[in-house]
Amino acid sequence: MTADAVIEAAHLTARFGTNTLFRDVSFTVSRGEVFVILGGSGCGKSTLLKLMIGLVPPAEGSVAILGTDVWSAEGEAKLALLKRIGVMWQQGALFGSQTLQENIEMPLAEHTSLPREARAEVARAKLGLVGLSEAANRLPSEVSGGMLKRAGIARALALDPPILFLDEPSAGLDPITSAGLDELIKDLAKSLGSTFVVVTHELASILAIGDRCIMLDKAEQGMIATGDPRDLRDHATHPTVRAFFRREAA
C-alpha cells in the first residue's frame, strides 16, 4: 500500500452460488479524495461496497483499509477498523424508535467516554453540519427522504471517521436536494479532509463530486474503466462507458 492510499482492493471477485457479479477488480483510494464506484443497475456496486466494509466476503481477493486487512482482522483490531469508517446506507438505516439526535449519540455513547451533555452537543454539531439542527428531536419516520439521507451522513460522521462510505446518497432525491447533498460531500471532504467512497449511478453526482472513479459492468463481469469521471465522459472509447456518460442506450 502506498503512503497516500487508505484503501487497497486487490483482485476482488464476488460470487453468489454460480452467479459471478464481478471478477479481478483492483483499485486504490487515496487519502482525502472522493472516489466513486459507478455502473448500471445490477453490476455489483453495492456488493463491492459491502465487500469493502466487511459485510459480504469476497470469493477471491482482499481489501485493506488503513493498512488493516478487512477480512483477516478480528476482535479489537476489527473494532478499531470499524471505528475508523462510517457508512451511509441507501435507505438511511436509522433506528426508528430513536430521534435523529439519539441515532447520532448512540455510537458516541458506545465508543467514547464523552459525558452525556457533550454527546448531545457533538450530535447537535453533526446535525448542524448536514443542515438538520431543527429536526434533531424528530423520529426517522417523521422526516423526508432527503432528510433521512442527510441524517444518515450525520450518523456516519458521528465518530469523525477518516473514511466514509456512501451507498447511493442521491438516489430518489429531487435535483435540488441531490445537488445540496453533493455540495455537502464536497465541503466535508475539503474542510475535514475525509475520504469518501461513493456508490452511485447518478451521472450529475458523479461529475459533481468524483475525483476519481471506477466503472463496473454487468456484461463483462468486472471493471471496465477507471480515472477522472470528466476525462471518461470526454475521452472514453469503451462503448458502454461512452453510452453511460452520454446517457445513450447501449
Binding site: 467514547t112 464523552l114 452537543e121 428531536n137 426517522p140
Partner: protein, 362 residues
C-alpha cells in the same frame, strides 16, 4: 495530544497540542471545559500547536470558548473546521414542544378517544357493508384466501391447541381432585372440568391462542403492507382493502375459532380422563358423569361464544394493522395492540355473555 494551563500576566492560557480528535476530545472534555469556566474572559485557548482537528474536537473547543476564553493561533486547516462547526452549532435549535396544562391534556386525550372510537365504528360499519355485499354476490369472495387463512390460523394451530388443552385438563383435574377428595367428591371432577372447559375455558384459551398467534400476525402483516404503502396502492388501483385484505382474514377467524375451542375442550377432557384413570376411576365412570352434567346447550353456547371471539380478535388484528403509523416501530406497536386488544376484548365479551346467558336462562 496534551493540555496545559498556565498564567501569563493577567491571562490564563489553555494550551493544546497535537491532534484533537474524538478520542482526545473524550479525555479533554471535562478538564478543558472546567478550566475554561474558571478562566472566563481572561482565558485564551491556544491552538498554535494543534496539528489536526475533527468536528468533535471543534465542538469541544467551541463549547469551552462559550464560557469566555478566546480561541487563538489556529492554523488555516484547523480554523476551517472550527468555522464549519461554529456555523453548524449556530443553526436554530428545535423548538421545544409546548407543554399543555393538565386540563388541555385531558381534553386532548378525550378527543383522541372519541376519534378512535369513531374510527373503530367506521371500520366495523365498512366491514359489515362488505360482508353484506359479499353475501349478495358470493362469487366476489376470495375463497382461496379464506382457505389460506383457515390453514394458517387453524390447522397450523392444532398442535399448540391440543398441547395446551390437554395440559389444562390435567391441571384442572388434579387441582380440583385435591379439595374434593376431602369430601369424597372426586367423582364430580369430570363434571367440574367438563363444564368449565366447555362453557368458559375452552373458548377463552382458544381465544388467547388465536390472539397471540393470528391476531398479531394479521396486525404485523397488514401493518407492514401499510408502512410499505401497499394498502394505498390497492386503494389507488380501485380495489377495496376491506374486501381483499380484511374480509378473508375475519371470515377465517370467525370460522376457525369454534373448531379451536372444540379441539381444546376435547383435549382437556382427554387430559382430565387420564388423571381420573390415575386416581382409580374407569373411563365409563367419567363418560357417565359427563353425560349426566353436560348438555348440548353448554356446547353450542361455548361454540357461539368462540365464534364471536374469533370475529373480535380478527377484526381487532386487521384494524391494528391497517391503522399502523410509519416506520418499523409502527408494526411492532400494531402487533402489540392486536394481542392486548384481542385478549381484553374476549374477556369483556365473556362477561357480557355470562350476563346474557344468565338472563336468558341458558
Amino acid at each position: 495530544m496534551s493540555f496545559d494551563s498556565r498564567r501569563e500576566g493577567d491571562k490564563v492560557v489553555l494550551a493544546l497540542t497535537g491532534r484533537i480528535d474524538t478520542v482526545a476530545a473524550s479525555d479533554l472534555w471535562s478538564p478543558l471545559v472546567k478550566a475554561a469556566r474558571e478562566a472566563g474572559e481572561a482565558g485564551v485557548i491556544d491552538l498554535r500547536a494543534v496539528t489536526a482537528l475533527d468536528t468533535t474536537g471543534a465542538t469541544l473547543l467551541l463549547t469551552a470558548s462559550g464560557h469566555g476564553p478566546k480561541i487563538e493561533g489556529a492554523s488555516e486547516g484547523v480554523a476551517a473546521v472550527l468555522d464549519r462547526v461554529r456555523d453548524a452549532l449556530a443553526a436554530p435549535r428545535p423548538k421545544p414542544e409546548p407543554r399543555l396544562p393538565w386540563l388541555a391534556r385531558i381534553g386532548r386525550g378525550a378527543i383522541g378517544l372519541y376519534h378512535n372510537t369513531m374510527d373503530a365504528l367506521a371500520f366495523l360499519g365498512e366491514l359489515l357493508t362488505i360482508l353484506m355485499l359479499t353475501l349478495l354476490k358470493p362469487h366476489r369472495l376470495r375463497l382461496r384466501e379464506v382457505l389460506r387463512f383457515l390453514d394458517e390460523a387453524g390447522t397450523r394451530a392444532f398442535p399448540l391447541t391440543i398441547l395446551l388443552g390437554s395440559l389444562l385438563g390435567v391441571i384442572l383435574a388434579f387441582q380440583s381432585a385435591i379439595p374434593l377428595r376431602r369430601f369424597g367428591g372426586e367423582i364430580f371432577v369430570p363434571s367440574l372440568v367438563g363444564i368449565s372447559l366447555m362453557r368458559e375455558l375452552g373458548p377463552l384459551m382458544a381465544g388467547v391462542i388465536l390472539a397471540g398467534r393470528t391476531g398479531s400476525a394479521y396486525a404485523a402483516e397488514l401493518g407492514t403492507m401499510t408502512v410499505n404503502e401497499e394498502v394505498a396502492a390497492l386503494r389507488v388501483m380501485g380495489m377495496d382493502p376491506m374486501a381483499i385484505l380484511v374480509l378473508p382474514r375475519v371470515l377465517a377467524g370467525l370460522l376457525v375459532m369454534p373448531i379451536l375451542a372444540l379441539l381444546l375442550t376435547l383435549s382437556g377432557l382427554v387430559g382430565m380422563t387420564i388423571i381420573m384413570g390415575l386416581l382409580g376411576f374407569p373411563l365409563v365412570t367419567v363418560t357417565t358423569q359427563l353425560q349426566a352434567w353436560l348438555s348440548l346447550k353448554d356446547m353450542l353456547g361455548g361454540l357461539f361464544k368462540a365464534a364471536v371471539f374469533g370475529l373480535a380478535i380478527a377484526t381487532i388484528g386487521c384494524r391494528s394493522g391497517l391503522g399502523a403509523g410509519r416506520g418499523p416501530r409502527a408494526v411492532g406497536d400494531a402487533a402489540t395492540a392486536a394481542v392486548v386488544g384481542g385478549i381484553v376484548a374476549i374477556v369483556l365479551l365473556d362477561g357480557v355473555f355470562a350476563v346474557a346467558f344468565e338472563r336468558l336462562g341458558l
